[in-house]
Amino acid sequence: MPSRTKKTEQPEDASMEDVPTSAQPDQETGDAMQEDEFAENGGSGNGEEEEDTVQRVRILPGSSPTAASFEFLEEGHTLGNALRYIIMKNPDVEFCAYSIPHPSEAKMNIRIQTYDTTTATAALAKGLKDLEDLCDVVADKFWTERNRFTEAGRMESD
């Protein structure tokens, strides 16, 4: 078992954490992840709550640096399909798909498998950034076009 920073007792019932272990070699915090720009904390999962926000993204067990599944809370098809499309546009991504495990729960799983040139987490982060850029471009063009249309309408009626 990887060492946990919290001394809390684990409940007696089997949780999803105890499910058959991944076939990937056991890694503490993973040297492969050193390449990542993002700092990652080792230790137990959702015990720590930040000041205002609850952690809404986590990596599901059984993931490796290039093949990972992520779970988003309080998200659905709105973000899932859009994010999947953008991530698939990344040439370093071999596979990307999303699913909603059960419609009664607001959880969205997204699986990303990448080639060796990048990691799954990096692809996810890039996907989110690209989606943000896309929104900027659309908003800009939309407002410009809308102003142009209103002006044209005003000039016509004058």
Partner: protein
């Protein structure tokens, strides 16, 4: 980043969804890297900005129609879903009934009041009003109610006999006073700092004052107070800022072989008015397409504006047009129609939808950075 010049746009055949007599073909988008040997389909912000086109067709206050060209269905759908479900609006949430002797039951009346769309000062509603949260178990019911998160409204109507009515009068609106209770009878009561934001032209009022809430007869009274809060459509559809927001794909009509004479007239009638125009065959037509040779001066059918077509596929039902026409839709051309209920203007709504998607991705980027690695044992 790959240079944006030298990149070839997707060929028309790949961008068209085929509409056949009983099937629809080529529906899935395939614009991903390594799917095709020609052209690079990876994400490029500048290439996207170059290709993106927006064309407005109509921009009234509460109804807008525009075309979004160059995005994928998943993105357009995300905008549509956010428009319906995730843009905050004010709506009646709690109804305090002091007296209701009308035939409309309390809960039915409350439900109807919740569905009435309201409008008011934009700055107040969007920037100043905050969210209301239910008080913690055990705390006072009104401990979380403040002027910056609650709007108070009153509805007090009593139905009485009209002594001045004609003796043989049958119409209840003339026989009685206040027999019909309309949304315009709802009175806004400003509280605290609300006067600064919601006065004059900006008062909180129903968008459609003529909505009929209840009918009464003499002696019946409705006396109630309402509290409005902010909410989103995902919680309850009364909070949805759009009557509805929808999009359709731009139809494509291709005339493969000449359609002349009476056939041309029949062809025009198979489509909505404005889609097909009738022209006379001229030398230019013959030059462009040899099949028109020998038919100069005859009436021919040509595509005018496919925007008006509703893709009823009527044309495919007639054997005389078999093989002469091909129907389809452009996969990346979305004609949005946004009908607002009054709290936002339609164009502002779409912008807000884009902003919401952007905020979502920004917040998740931070979350991904803080993500914790969880390995099973």
């Amino acid at each position: 980043m790959a240079p944006s010049s030298g990149r070839v746009p997707e060929p028309e055949s790949r961008k068209t969804v085929g509409i056949n007599k009983e099937t629809v073909s080529n529906t899935v988008s395939t614009d991903f890297p390594d799917n095709y040997p020609d052209g690079d389909e990876s994400w490029d912000k500048d290439w996207f900005a170059q290709n993106l086109k927006i064309e407005f067709h109509q921009n009234d206050d509460y109804e807008a129609q525009f075309s979004l060209i160059g995005v994928d269905a998943s993105i357009a759908n995300a905008f549509r879903r956010i428009l319906i479900a995730e843009i905050p609006t004010l709506a009646v949430e709690t109804v305090f009934i002091q007296n209701n002797t009308s035939v409309v039951q309390d809960e039915v009346l409350s439900h109807r009041l919740g569905l009435i769309p309201f409008t008011g000062g934009k700055e107040g509603i969007r920037d100043w009003m905050k969210w209301w949260h239910k008080p913690v178990e055990g705390a006072d019911q009104y401990s979380t109610t403040y002027d910056h998160n609650t709007v108070q409204l009153k509805l007090q109507v009593e139905c009485t006999h009209n002594k001045d009515a004609a003796p043989d009068e049958k119409d209840p609106t003339k026989l009685y006073h206040n027999a019909h209770v309309y949304a315009k009878d709802i009175v806004y009561e400003p509280a605290g700092a609300q006067e600064q934001y919601f006065s004059g032209d900006n008062i909180i009022r129903p968008t459609n004052p003529d909505i009929l809430i209840a009918k009464m007869r003499p002696g019946q009274v409705i006396d109630l107070e309402m509290h409005m809060h902010k909410g989103i459509g995902a919680d309850h559809s009364k909070f949805s800022p759009v009557a509805t927001a929808s999009y359709r794909l731009m139809p494509v009509i291709k005339i493969l072989k000449p359609i002349l004479g009476d056939d041309a007239k029949k062809f025009q009638e198979c489509f909505m008015p404005g889609t097909i125009k009738l022209e006379k065959v001229t030398k230019q037509h013959v030059k462009a397409n040899k099949e028109y040779a020998g038919h100069e001066g005859e009436v021919m059918a040509a595509v005018d504006n496919p925007l008006y077509d509703t893709v009823s596929r009527e044309v495919l039902r007639h054997p005389e047009f078999e093989g002469k026409v091909k129907l389809g839709r452009k996969r990346d051309h979305f004609i949005f129609s946004i009908e607002s209920t009054g709290q936002w203007e339609s164009d502002e709504l779409f912008l807000e939808s884009i902003k919401t998607l952007k905020t979502k991705s920004q917040k998740l980027q931070t979350q991904v950075q803080n993500m914790v690695y969880t390995y099973s044992g």
